[in-house]
């Protein structure tokens, strides 16, 4: 009887994962095929299968623009989604997310420091690409790690989840204020480099930058999967987690490290991307009715990737030369979806609400 139940459940999840993977592939293909410049679908598939594309311009657009952007979208969606999941579980709070807890602001402060100091010392853009990329990621990750650590320390003292969120919000506000003061004292062109970054962008990553972002995100995602059991234990309460032999302190630090690498590296390269980190974990829990991190982690990786690709497709406004800012699209399309889900389910389904 138990064996039978287990079998159907395994079968169900297998179908779900294969289904999501197929959807991801389809959306990926669509995001390669659709854009301001019309490229026939046949040519896109030819490009993907390694064939010769008729028009050299199309080839250049596919290889230089659409492919890196689609890959970036998948990485961003997955990384922010997982980072949101870890924060929500760690702080046992459904409102936690990279944006709300000030992690994005922390990363922003790191990037701003690098840009402004880089320009002050002389020639930020003069630093070799590779070194500059690592510098940006490093400083963003350090920035988000510091913010998260402070909140983590506060979490030890403050039990109430709401107080913790307020501390996060205050921290985010203070960090943003520091950045605006730095902007006030710096030259127009330094500000421009920072402002461009702060718009949020999926399409500005070169292959060079992707070669830095991809390994960081992929390794962190694998590590996040490895942390699933500890996260599951945390979900059942800290006393339970401790009694089951979990070293709470080191687990906390590991999760914070993992999540700040994910959110920090993505924010460093793509700027602050709103909504995804907060909402994707909720969507995954509600759509698939599970709070098991062993399942949620791969689900969110797939779902985050799919959603980000769809958001980017919408931002392209297919058929026109114009584009929308990606941040506007993520929030505009995402928010009603989450509201609809909550209304349909009539509550947020969390085991840590109990």
């Amino acid at each position: 009887m138990i064996q039978q139940h287990f079998d159907t459940s395994v079968k169900k999840w297998r179908v779900t994962f294969i289904g999501l993977f197929v959807v991801l592939c389809l959306v990926f293909l669509a995001s390669l095929a659709i854009g301001s410049v019309t490229i026939p679908l046949g040519q896109t598939t030819k490009f993907l299968t390694g064939g010769e594309v008729e028009n050299a311009g199309w080839h250049a657009i596919l290889i230089n623009f659409r492919l890196p952007k689609a890959l970036t979208a998948i990485l961003v969606g997955s990384a922010l989604g997982i980072s949101g999941l870890q924060m929500q579980t760690l702080f046992r709070n459904p409102l936690a997310g990279p944006f709300i807890l000030g992690i994005s602001s922390g990363a922003g402060l790191g990037v701003a420091l690098v840009i402004f100091i880089g320009f002050a010392i002389g020639g930020f853009f003069g630093i070799p690409d590779f070194a500059r990329n690592w510098l940006m990621v490093g400083s963003a990750a350090v920035g988000s790690f510091l913010v998260l650590s402070v909140i983590g320390v506060a979490a030890l003292r403050v039990r109430s989840g709401v107080s913790l969120l307020i501390i996060g919000l205050m921290f985010g506000a203070a960090v943003s204020a520091i950045v605006s003061i730095m902007q006030f004292f710096s030259q127009a062109e330094n500000i421009q480099a920072y402002v461009i970054w702060s718009f949020g962008s999926l399409g500005s990553l070169s292959w060079n930058e992707l070669s830095v972002l991809t390994p960081i995100v992929v390794l962190s995602l694998i590590y996040a999967f490895a942390l699933s059991k500890q996260l599951n234990a945390l979900l059942l309460g800290e006393t339970y987690a401790e009694s089951s032999g979990l070293d709470l302190k080191s687990t906390r630090i590991l999760i914070i490290l993992n999540t700040s690498l994910l959110a920090g590296s993505v924010t460093a390269f793509c700027g602050p991307i709103a909504f995804v980190g907060l909402a994707v974990p909720h969507l995954a829990r509600m759509l698939f009715n599970t709070s098991n991190h062993l399942l949620l982690t791969p689900l969110i990786v797939l779902l985050g990737g799919i959603l980000m690709l769809v958001f980017d497709l919408v931002a392209q406004l297919p058929g026109s030369d114009a584009t929308l800012p990606i941040n506007a699209v993520t929030s505009l399309l995402g928010a009603p979806f989450v509201i609809w889900l909550i209304l349909r389910k009539n509550n947020l389904h969390y085991s840590f609400d109990k």
């Binding site: 410049v37 853009f125 630093i127 461009i196 718009f199 114009a322 584009t323």
Partner: protein, 354 residues
């Protein structure tokens, strides 16, 4: 008795006639479409047809005595004061560090021009203490809250909407707006005629060009490339300089927001790239976005920016003085596109990026 009655009647009639009714239009303007003068029974009026974008109503100012103490809010208005020899009329400016002009920078250092807002805003209390005759302001987005406050305090605000003009000469003709307000009408007329004549001479010179090189403009911000529309000031310049703007068929007078791949598709084949925002060298451009290297002008070393004349603080003088001197801009562009037509000319604003 009858005569007196008639006289009284007439006076009442005149007094009751609506002041809006124009008696006659005088001093016709040849290029500017945003303002005109009207002679009425009670004096001469300066009428701003569209004080801000999409304004429903006009603004009118009675021209009685010339303004003696003026505060203005845009650096692009400063050259007009200089050209009319009315430098001493300017007594205040928000953020004098933005000013490139040597004359006004010096006057600010001597304390003859009060800095009304080092933070870029306008310090209303300081403004009131200056007691200027008027503030010459611009309103690009219908956000006139601050300006309304100045009016409430009893200081007239005169709206200047030269930025809505779509032709280079039209924008420069706003010198007559300043001429009328500062009591230097004849001078403004003669200065403008000279500029107009020189501009038209240069247009004829450019007509001798055998080729019409294609021109690309702007840089990408995040995922969006801000490109002047085909009806924009810039597009008219390129046409007059014997070039062909790649987006010339477009009719937008403001800016287009294009996706990078749309610009990439069309812009790679351009002959010239003119206007690269705050990038003053090719290596800086490549540092921020490697895909710029694929553009034709980049490989052929035909990238130009308006960076030749800069203030000590790094501000581009182009944005301050170029609107008033379309003849210089046109000569510069001809020199860039067809150097053989102006062999001895040295550019004022544009320089080739290395």
């Amino acid at each position: 008795m009858n005569k007196i009655q008639l006289l009284v009647g007439l006076t009442i009639l005149i007094a009751c006639s609506p002041p809006e009714k124009a008696v006659q239009n005088e001093l016709s303007l040849d290029h500017a479409t945003g303002f005109h003068f009207e002679k009425r029974t009670d004096g001469r009026y300066l009428v701003i047809d569209q004080p801000w974008p999409n304004a429903k109503k006009t603004k009118e100012y009675k021209l009685d005595k010339p303004l003696q103490r003026v505060v203005c809010t845009s650096t692009s208005h400063l050259p007009f004061f200089e050209m009319l020899g009315s430098e001493e009329v300017l007594i205040g400016f928000p953020n004098v560090s933005y000013i490139s002009s040597e004359v006004f920078t010096e006057r600010a250092e001597q304390g003859l021009i009060t800095d009304l807002g080092p933070d870029g805003g306008m310090n209303i209390e300081l403004l009131l203490s200056l007691q200027p005759d008027a503030v010459i302001a611009f309103d690009a987005g219908g956000e006139s809250g601050n300006l309304d406050k100045i009016v409430e305090a009893g200081i007239p605000v005169i709206y200047n909407s030269d930025f809505l003009e779509t032709s280079p000469l039209g924008r420069a003709e706003w010198i007559k707006f300043f001429g009328a307000l500062l009591g230097e009408e004849q001078k403004s007329d003669s200065v403008f005629s000279a500029i107009e004549k020189e501009y038209q001479r240069l247009v004829e010179v450019a007509k001798a060009s055998e080729t019409k090189p294609t021109i690309l403009n702007g840089v990408v911000y995040g995922d969006t490339w801000f490109m002047p529309g085909g009806g924009n000031w810039a597009s008219v310049f390129y046409e007059n300089a014997g070039g062909q703007y790649l987006w010339a068929e477009d009719t937008t007078t403001s800016w287009l927001e294009l996706s990078f791949e749309a610009v990439y598709d069309r812009g790679r084949t351009a002959d010239f790239w003119i206007g690269t925002s705050s990038f003053n060298s090719k290596s800086e451009m490549l540092g921020s976005e490697g895909r710029y290297a694929d553009f034709g002008p980049f490989a052929k070393d035909r990238v130009y920016n308006y960076s030749k004349k800069r203030s000590p603080t790094g501000a581009y003088d182009f944005f301050e003085s170029a609107y008033a001197r379309p003849d210089l801009v046109l000569a510069d562009l001809i020199k860039v596109l067809h150097p053989e037509l102006l062999p001895t000319y040295e550019t004022v604003y544009f320089e080739q990026l290395k």
